[in-house]
């Protein structure tokens, strides 16, 4: 099981992802955004950062990086792809996930630990019981998820909402989202469950030396799933 982590100009969390995956005893290596093949990796991660300086819109330019055509092909063939933060924004711009991410309500860049409620979903990347509360840091300026009402209904009906911002007791209140995200959505997946995008950073809470281990399942679930196939 090898994780490929795409490095775009302006990515800044790719080393964290590599460290997290290797810390779990798994293999990981970089993929350059200009490459036109994915090097046989089993799972692809689009890391956080500010690809192309967030110019035009977050992820709008990165989605046309040469490697993205391959990422789209890989995802459409059922290959597992996870986009974290800027990676999530890139996945929406690439139309691998529906909706878009707007500026945070209040225009504040947010950077703090954040409680998330795991929802019952078809996501292949997260195999935690519904209602589990995990503490995963957020670090973004454009995490305000939005989509049209039909898309939201589809996300709900298909079990594509994977994690929501929540309170300490796991309840989800109208204002639980620190960024104004629609329906408190922190992460969604595609219908098939192989493409997953989320604003919080699970790679930062994998090594106990760095404030927690709640992010571990975000990397191990897919490994167990692929091993059992």
């Amino acid at each position: 099981m090898r994780f490929g982590v795409v490095r775009f100009p302006g990515s800044n969390c790719e080393q964290d992802v590599i460290h997290a995956v290797r810390h779990l005893g798994l293999e990981a290596d970089y993929i350059w955004h200009g490459d036109t093949d994915l090097g046989g990796f089993d799972a692809i991660v689009l890391p956080g950062g500010f690809s192309y300086g967030d110019y035009i819109r977050c992820g709008a330019v990165a989605r046309f990086s040469p490697v993205m055509a391959e990422v789209v092909r890989f995802a459409e063939a059922g290959g597992p792809v996870m986009g974290i933060c800027n990676g999530f924004q890139i996945l929406t711009e690439a139309h691998l996930l529906p909706g878009a991410l707007l500026r945070n309500v209040g225009l504040k860049f947010i950077c703090h630990s954040q409680l998330l409620r795991v929802e019952k979903s078809v996501c292949q990347w997260l195999d935690l019981p519904e209602g589990t509360v995990v503490d995963i840091p957020v670090n973004h300026n454009e995490g305000n998820y939005i989509c049209d009402p039909e898309t939201l209904a589809r996300l709900q009906d298909n079990g594509q909402i994977v994690v929501r911002y929540c309170e300490v007791d796991g309840s989800v209140k109208a204002d639980s989202a620190p960024n104004g995200a629609l329906d408190n959505i922190a992460g969604i997946c595609n219908e098939r469950g192989n493409v997953f995008g989320l604003m919080p950073h699970p790679e930062r809470v994998v090594d106990p030396m760095c404030s927690g281990t709640d992010g571990v399942a975000f990397f191990t679930s897919i490994v167990e799933r692929l091993a059992s196939v």
Partner: protein, 80 residues
């Protein structure tokens, strides 16, 4: 050389945090007559002769605007 001007704005119903903040700020500054502020983007595009509006709209759909959240207006301001 033809010049196109493009205005990109949020679609109706999409909350515009910078616009809402500017709206509140103006009202706080005493401009009570301000009812609404929307903030968008302006793109000036100089293109080769013979580039038609359909081609420019294609550029908007692909890169300059995100049709999920944004509308755009294209205007030819200088003829070839």
């Amino acid at each position: 050389m033809p010049r196109y001007e493009i205005h990109v704005t949020y679609k109706k119903g999409i909350f515009d945090p910078p616009g809402a903040t500017a709206e509140r700020a103006l009202q706080n500054l005493g401009y009570g007559e301000v009812n609404s502020v929307k903030i968008g983007k302006y793109v000036q595009l100089d293109v080769a002769e013979g580039t038609d509006e359909a081609r420019v709209r294609e550029m908007c759909d692909k890169l300059l605007a995100n049709p999920v959240i944004e509308d755009y207006r294209v205007e030819l301001v200088e003829e070839a």
